[in-house]
């Protein structure tokens, strides 16, 4: 149910926002928009399904503790 809700919400947002982007006839804009939207849709779906996502901040933390200790 929640998965369906997320997909529906994204569908509505994209259908509202895509029209002015398509009208400008720039493929780069359209591709960037769809890639970014797709990425956030995937992350949100994983969050809804309860699948743990690797935290991108962990490597930074490791690097900092490696340099400064503790």
């Amino acid at each position: 149910m929640a998965v369906f809700g997320v997909i529906l919400a994204y569908f509505i947002i994209i259908s509202i926002e895509i029209y002015p982007i398509v009208k400008k006839k720039k493929r780069k804009n359209k591709a960037l928009y769809l890639i970014a939207m797709g990425a956030s849709l995937i992350i949100n779906l994983l969050l809804v399904l309860g699948i743990s996502i690797p935290n991108p901040v962990k490597p930074i933390e490791k690097l900092i503790t490696m340099i400064f200790g503790k």
């Binding site: 947002i13 926002e17 002015p20 982007i21 720039k26 780069k28 804009n29 960037l32 928009y33 970014a36 939207m37 990425a39 956030s40 992350i43 949100n44 969050l47 996502i53 935290n55 991108p56 901040v57 930074i60 933390e61 900092i64 503790t65 340099i67 400064f68 503790k70």
Partner: protein
């Protein structure tokens, strides 16, 4: 492309509200300086002054350009874009951390039974709208709402809490020596004051060459004074012990205010101020991300990227920490060192290269 211009006053209001941001809630210094925490704020301002001089010098030397243009001018197209991507990541990360602070606050203090996504949803809609309208509108907005923030802060913090103040909470001063104060000052530098590096990415629209100095320094002074007032108030009301123990010292301190039977439960003032400031902070971060992507991908507009980036930022804020303990630990243990690279080291390198390469200009 239409050029947006913001006045000096609007710039000062933006910087002040940005500095206040989530600091009002979390406090500065992480409880290291104990009773001298208020002095750590002053030390933090002193640390921040030379760094902010570098920022304003960069902004005035390359007037009308933002950081991404400057990077491409100085380091060439390829390396400029690489460093730009680093800065985009920094703005993105900062924005999601602030959002996370906000959602932690709503979850633990204000609406414990409401799913955290719900308040966040309305919030995200608001700043998508704000950023799509551009920096000019955000500037005008902050010019009005800074009055609300100032009124609530000054009225609630100073006048209403007078009966609760206990000056034994800050005495004796310098009890633990100077070292914890300097360390805590460093934390205060990296948590609110140094984060103004984000403004390098959005302030391509200042009026004159001189205005960057005025905007950055007046913003630093006003924001610093407010933070000083707030940390003094917290110290005087709840004391150093519980200040380092609570996640949200301001919230606890203000809830102690009670005058007669009818002026009490003033935490709402803290929530309101937090909401207004966090709105500006996240919007500026989001604007920086979108403008950076515009410059890196050579696009003609940034507005169509706002919604996907805002949604990404929000989902990132959900996964960035497993719980609130982790978020507080990160804010005071890891963040200062990680952010120092973006706040001081990289700007210094850019500054030196810029001064050498563009010696003739100015």
């Amino acid at each position: 492309m239409n050029k947006e211009i913001i006045s000096d006053k609007q710039g000062i209001c933006l910087v002040t509200m940005f500095i206040l941001g989530s600091t009002l809630l979390l406090g500065t210094g992480g409880g290291i300086a104990k009773k001298d925490a208020w002095m750590a704020v002053i030390v933090g301002i002193l640390y921040a002054a030379p760094v902010l001089y570098i920022y304003s010098r960069l902004m005035s030397k390359f007037h009308g350009h933002d950081l991404f243009d400057i990077l491409q001018l100085i380091f060439g197209k390829f390396f400029g874009k690489v460093i730009s991507i680093l800065y985009i990541w920094f703005a993105f990360h900062l924005g999601s951390l602030v959002e996370r602070n906000f959602s932690d606050f709503t979850e633990t203090a204000v609406y414990p039974d409401t799913p955290v996504q719900f308040p966040l949803l309305f919030f995200v809609l608001l700043f998508i709208w704000g950023v799509k309208l551009g920096i000019e509108n955000l500037g005008r907005w902050s010019e009005i709402y800074i009055l609300v923030v100032t009124f609530l802060l000054v009225a609630v913090t100073i006048f209403l809490s007078l009966p609760q103040l206990d000056f034994n909470n800050i005495r004796p001063i310098f009890y633990n020596g100077i070292k914890p104060i300097l360390h805590s000052g460093f934390l205060a530098f990296s948590f609110p004051f140094g984060e103004t590096v984000i403004f390098l990415m959005v302030f391509s629209s200042l009026k004159t060459k001189k205005s960057s100095y005025k905007v950055f320094f007046m913003g630093l002074i006003f924001g610093g004074i407010f933070i000083l007032i707030v940390s003094l108030r917290n110290l005087l009301i709840i004391g150093a012990e519980s200040m380092s123990r609570d996640y949200f010292p301001s919230y606890v301190a203000v809830s102690a205010i009670k005058i007669g039977d009818f002026i009490q439960r003033l935490e709402l003032a803290v929530s309101t101020v937090l909401l207004l400031n966090v709105f500006i902070k996240v919007s500026i971060c989001l604007l920086a991300v979108c403008k950076g992507l515009q410059k890196v991908f050579d696009l003609d507009d940034y507005r169509f990227l706002v919604t996907p980036m805002a949604l990404l930022m929000t989902s990132f804020s959900m996964i960035v920490y497993p719980n609130i303990m982790e978020s507080v630990r990160w804010a005071f243990k890891i963040w200062p060192f990680y952010a120092f690279f973006f706040q001081a080291i990289l700007p210094l390198i850019i500054f030196i290269f810029g001064e050498i390469k563009f010696r003739k200009v100015i």
